[in-house]
């Protein structure tokens, strides 16, 4: 199977989930992600899978928790207001070391906000939006192809590290149609799910999936264990894309949909003879700090672009060398449109 298709980003997510072996989906409608539950409600039952339209996002994330605890691959998806409701369950999944994939097709907030594209759930996604001090894996696709590839990757990473994984995109990527090469699931060595709760047939020891730690020092040990796992993730799993950074005097940095527009603006700058490059984080947690460290060793000017008043820019500032300057250009949702390449080119000229 390596067909060329023309599909929506949201559909690519759903297709990838199926290809990744996910047969259980639990969700609740919200724009702009409803194509995902719609697709899976149609495609999962014939495959022997289960689609449940939950009573709420709280219900959905806890169904994911329950399914995942039995060792199967399962997924939920939503947008900002629903992701807020899922945070309780995400914290419990993190506390129970459960894998599971959560898709956030970001829309404008806070509150009911609007359905424009937004990147303002960055903190909520990358800081562990629920209680208790944890992180989840966050992947940020910038194309329909990446919606497919990274969704599959999210399932693998989540299983390997026993950490919930989020695919963080916005309504532009979710709703846009592009060509997609739907390739088979890449082979990965995955650990056996010995911890899964399946009933004790065949004399297996009792398995308990829990997040309650009351014994002396147990909770502290849990936190240090997870901390080490997050560090391992940072060492092994950071991903990013660099375009023309090796000789750059200014590096533009952005993720997801804004990175696409920035790419055109960077090409315009190169055309005009300016040494401008692009650094696009693909993993937002772990954040590719090493890429910023390396580049800021020789390039001292950065321009961060986001569809918000600035969130990822904080990670950029924490990652670059001390003497590097980080400028910011933000377009919070509600401006009525996305920034144009010309608009970003103007910003590049200002910072160059």
């Amino acid at each position: 199977m390596s067909e060329k298709l023309f599909v929506k980003g949201n559909e690519a997510v759903a297709m990838a989930a199926i290809e990744a072996g996910c047969r259980y989906y639990f969700g609740y409608p919200i724009t702009p992600q409803s194509d995902i539950p719609e697709y899976l409600s149609r495609e999962l039952p014939p495959l022997g899978g289960e689609f449940i339209q939950a009573e709420s996002e709280i219900g959905a994330i806890n169904m994911l928790l329950g399914a995942s605890a039995t060792g199967v691959r399962a997924m939920t998806s939503s947008s900002g207001p629903g992701i807020s409701l899922k945070q309780e369950g995400i914290s419990y999944m993190a506390g129970s070391e459960l894998p599971g994939v959560i898709v956030d097709i970001m829309r404008a907030g806070p509150g009911l906000g609007g359905i424009d594209a937004s990147q303002a759930d960055y903190f909520q996604a990358t800081r562990g939006g629920g209680h208790g001090g944890y992180r989840i894996i966050v992947l940020a696709p910038a194309s329909v192809q990446e919606m497919y590839d990274l969704t599959m990757r999210a399932f693998d990473l989540s299983d390997i590290y026993r950490i919930p994984a989020m695919v963080l995109a916005d309504s532009v990527i979710g709703q846009m149609k592009e060509s997609l090469t739907a390739h088979p699931r890449p082979k990965a060595t995955l650990p056996a799910k010995e911890w899964a709760v399946r009933g004790r047939e065949s004399g297996e020891p009792q398995n308990i999936v829990k997040s309650l730690y009351l014994g002396d020092g147990e909770m502290e040990a849990f936190h240090w264990k997870m901390h080490a796992r997050y560090q391992e993730l940072a060492e092994k799993e950071c991903r990013w894309e660099e375009i023309e950074t090796t000789d750059a005097a200014l590096v533009v940095t952005a993720f997801g949909s804004t990175a696409r527009i920035a790419r055109t603006a960077v090409a315009m700058a190169r055309e005009a003879g300016m040494k401008v490059g692009l650094l696009r984080p693909i993993t937002l947690f772990p954040f590719p700090r090493q890429a910023y460290e390396t580049i800021s060793g020789y390039c001292k000017r950065f321009l961060t672009i986001e569809l918000s008043t600035g969130q990822m820019v904080e990670d950029v500032r924490l990652s670059v060398a001390r003497d590097a300057e980080v400028a910011f250009y933000g377009r919070p949702p509600g401006a009525g449109s996305l920034p144009t390449p010309e608009e970003l080119f103007e910003q590049i000229k200002k910072q160059y």
Binding site: Y24, F26, E50, I52, A54, E55, S56, I58, G59, A60, N62, M63, L64, L65, G66, A67, S68, A69, T70, G71, V72, A74, E88, G89, Y92, S96, V197, R198, G199, R200, E201, S202, Q206, N207, I208, V209, K210, S211, L212
Partner: protein, 247 residues
Amino acid sequence: MKQVFTRPESLKDVQTHFCPGCHHGSVHRLVAEAMDEFGIRDKTIGVASVGCSVFLYGYFDIDVIEAPHGRAPAVATGAKRARNDRIVFTYQGDGDLAAIGTSEIIHAANRGEDITVIFVNNTTYGMTGGQMAPTTMVGQKTSTSPYGRNQAKDGYPIRMAELLAQLEGVAFSARVAVNSPRNVMQAKKMIKTAFRYQVEGRGFSFIEALAACPTNWGMNPLAANERVGSEMIPYFPLGVYRNTANL
């Protein structure tokens, strides 16, 4: 000498953390006996809720998932859908099921999830220190209803067994108590029926067990046991409220 009473196989040989006179332990035992009698221990997944019964896995010798407060029916839904050859039950208190988790219980019941729910109604939030629950009796003093539950302000105690019995997805709904030998025998029968319905794949089964919380009621175990009969049963009558076998 003939041994007439033993620990059910599904229960571990451990000391209990429940307070003296607490009925959680009795309900645990009946659930374990039901599992033993159906021989389903090795294919059962328990879903623990938040409350005094959170340590379910410490007593039951089965696989257990611990759910967030109130969400056990959703967690059980996910587990059962993923492993539909397993027996899945939740064990929840009244704060858990009838307050924070109302949405999850009603919708799991309404979907007719093939799970069994054991609901322990002790008219209070036990674990957090005896605050007012949705099942607290009118006039009952608790740490957050120091003047007694006032129906004008606080509403009325919810009768969950009757409420859920209205839903088409429910195969079995009954209320039991464990305050007397007779009621214990009856409770055992009902709990067995609830599990049998799941074994037979008939849909959602629900048992509400009236229970004493001597600690938070500020009563000795005997007085607390008395109260179940004198105050709770008149308002929360025992019986079967829905049984699809009779429809």
